[in-house]
């Protein structure tokens, strides 16, 4: 009985929690504010979608979790990253290395370049296994595991002595997934895992991630700018803009909720619709603000159609909250929350 209660308590703590995270890059006197106060909670077996334009700070957030930010320029100025309730920022480099790849791993954006061209795919999967071989398994056992992983992602084990250039893009992405899953991580960060792939392969890779998630109980952070992928795979969604989460909630909240941040509305409007007769797409006007020079008020205010006087002056806090659905926008300051 005691075990049971303990387990539920453990299960209810999020596996990964970002608490008011600030990451700034310093270069040539400029301070580039890439991530500004991101808070996220990733539950066990949960998939959270991180959505936003290029440059919104999605990848920086992921790298911060992995502690792979470039030492020379990037710094976490504030906030904390908790894995299983423990701060990753206070871990030593050695402890962090033991976590990377084993407990938290990452699938990179471009499968064409994320594999070492002069090593066989088997050797590259093996690397992660060897690094985290704490149980001192024999080489034969590890090789058996390599074969198993390859077959898990749908590649014949017989091909493990081949080099990356002998695989197609989708196959390479699968190899990368095999590398990331080698040590059965608790958290998988997928940084636009399907951007470089065509639509059929995209569907296969997503189905694979989904399936492995079920089987292994891994939690996933899915970084993407494709709302279709979000609807298909995620439990929760966080919309990022200029390094902030401006709206978050469950998939239902974001796709079906009654109120939205004007940016989220813009994102949805810019998806071409099959039943729409018009010849033009509906993009959001303007560009993401320069992260070295963010506007004083709401970062979206220069592009917002519903911009009010207060928006240019004052940074909005969370003004709307209904269940898990939260929005940072002055439009809802009136009290609907």
């Amino acid at each position: 009985m005691e075990d049971m209660t303990k387990k539920t308590v453990e299960d209810s703590t999020p596996i990964l929690e970002l608490d008011d995270l600030y990451v700034h890059y310093r270069s040539e006197g400029n301070i580039i504010k890439a991530v500004n106060g991101v808070s996220l909670k990733l539950g066990r077996r949960e998939t959270i979608g991180l959505v936003g334009e290029t440059g919104a700070g999605k990848t920086t957030t992921a790298l911060a979790v992995m502690q792979l930010l470039p030492d020379a320029t990037a710094r976490i100025d504030r906030g904390d990253i908790l894995y299983n309730g423990e701060s990753l920022l206070r871990k030593s480099k050695g402890e962090m290395r033991a976590i990377r790849g084993a407990l938290i791993s990452m699938i990179f954006q471009d499968p064409m370049t994320a594999l070492n061209p002069i090593k066989t795919v088997g050797a590259q999967i093996m690397e992660s296994l060897t690094i985290h071989n704490y149980e001192h398994k024999s080489k034969a056992e590890l090789e058996a595991r390599v074969d198993e992983l390859l077959e898990l992602v749908g590649i014949k084990a017989i091909r493990r002595n081949e080099y990356p250039h002998q695989f197609s893009g989708g196959m390479k992405q699968r190899v990368l997934i095999a590398v990331a899953l080698a040590c059965q991580p608790q958290v998988l960060i997928a940084d636009e895992p399907t951007t470089a792939l065509d639509v059929t392969i995209q569907a296969q890779v997503l189905a694979l991630i989904e399936e492995l998630k079920e089987k292994l109980g891994t939690s996933v952070i899915m970084i993407t700018h494709d709302l279709g992928i979000v609807a298909q795979t995620c439990d929760k969604v966080a919309v990022m803009y200029a390094g902030e989460i401006i709206e978050d909630g469950s998939v239902e909240d974001i796709f079906l909720g009654e109120h939205h941040h004007p940016y989220t509305v813009g994102l949805f409007n810019s998806i071409p619709k099959l039943d729409d007769e018009s010849n033009r797409l509906h993009p959001i006007d303007g560009l993401m603000p320069d992260p070295a020079n963010l506007p004083p008020g709401c970062p979206f205010s220069p592009r917002c159609h519903q911009c009010m006087e207060i928006c240019t002056r004052e940074h909005p806090a969370i003004t709307y909250q209904k269940g898990s659905h939260r929005i940072k926008c002055h439009l809802f300051a009136g009290g609907e929350g």
């Binding site: 792979l68 290395r97 370049t113 002069i118 690397e127 198993e148 590398v179 399936e211 292994l216």
Partner: protein, 315 residues
């Protein structure tokens, strides 16, 4: 234990769309990934390049000659003077003729191979290792360390090569070791730069970051990912400069600051023979040919090796 069971279950249940059947594969038939099999693959690719094999054969002969010089001909024979037969051309007794002291040129070239190869390869080997560490650190770490290392190498590169070597030898004294040290120090900045730029081309690659995301240590990344990917230009640079080093060592000997006569060093032989170039040109011809053939074979070999080490050029 539970892990294992979970994996087994997983393997059975996963269905990937459009996946070919895996049933017919027998896992025992898959060749194991071993260092041996990779070396074999490199060797196979190397053999496909005929010129490279020719280079390897020539260089092997020279190298074996150098190693077993004493077995073929006792060292004393290379120093034996006989004024009666000086400056003779080729004959059955003296295959490549004799020099102005009546010493057998063929014997001297055989023993000279030892000194020439030792200076050439030694200077390159030590230079590559030291320059490699500096260059790899500069390229991999970047920032202030990069600036400091690169500005130091720039400074060294400003000084004319020969002047630097002569100054170093003059300061250290004339001996084989000191010539080696001087050549190594003079080559160091070049190697550091080549290796730094080779490292820079791969250090930002995604697979380096992917390796870090697997929890790999910095030295593991440098040795397993960065250097193997950057090794092409390094090998070419190394094999090309062995020839250059032999020539430079000869140059130092020529100026009287290197290996001292009567030691049979190819460069020293060249400089001794140069006074007789108009009357008995074979005194410079044969040592010169020895240097040229060695350098040539090394270049052929280096090119072949570079191609063989890159699996992308496999077919």
């Amino acid at each position: 234990m539970s892990n294992n069971r979970e994996e087994n279950k997983m393997q059975k249940e996963v269905h990937i769309p459009e996946m070919e059947s895996l049933d017919e594969i027998n896992l025992d038939e898959i060749p194991k990934m071993t260092r041996g099999s990779q070396l074999k693959a490199v060797w196979k690719r190397f053999c496909r390049n005929r010129l490279a094999v020719v280079g390897l054969v020539i260089f092997s002969i020279i190298l074996l000659t150098a190693i077993f010089a004493g077995v073929f001909v006792p060292y004393e024979k290379a120093l034996e003077q006989n004024i009666a037969i000086r400056n003779q051309t080729s004959s059955a007794e003296h295959w490549l003729g004799t020099d102005n002291y009546g010493r057998d040129i063929f014997f001297r070239i055989i023993h000279g191979a030892r000194y020439s190869l030792l200076t050439g390869m030694g200077a390159v080997a030590v230079g590559i290792i030291c320059g490699g560490i500096l260059g790899a650190l500069a390229g991999f770490r970047g920032g202030l360390l990069d600036t400091i290392i690169m500005r130091c190498t720039d400074t060294l590169l400003c000084i004319p090569f020969m002047l630097l070597v002569l100054a170093l030898v003059a300061a250290l004294g004339t001996s084989l070791t000191n010539v080696l040290i001087a050549l190594m120090l003079a080559m160091l900045p070049t190697y550091a730069r080549v290796i730094r730029s080779a490292v820079l081309t791969v250090v930002d690659a995604d697979y380096i970051e992917a390796s870090r995301s697997c929890g790999a240590k910095i030295w593991r990344i440098i040795f397993k990912h960065v250097i193997p990917n950057a090794v092409g230009p390094i090998i070419v640079q190394a094999t090309m400069t062995v020839g250059t080093m032999i020539i430079w060592a000869a140059g130092i000997s020529f100026l009287g600051m290197g290996i001292q006569p009567p030691t049979p060093e190819w460069g020293a032989m060249l400089s001794e023979g140069k006074n007789f170039i108009t009357t008995t040109p074979h005194l410079v011809l044969y040592p010169g040919l020895a240097i040229a053939i060695t350098a040539f074979s090394l270049n052929l070999m280096g090119d072949g090796l570079r191609d063989a080490l890159d699996p992308r050029l496999k077919d």
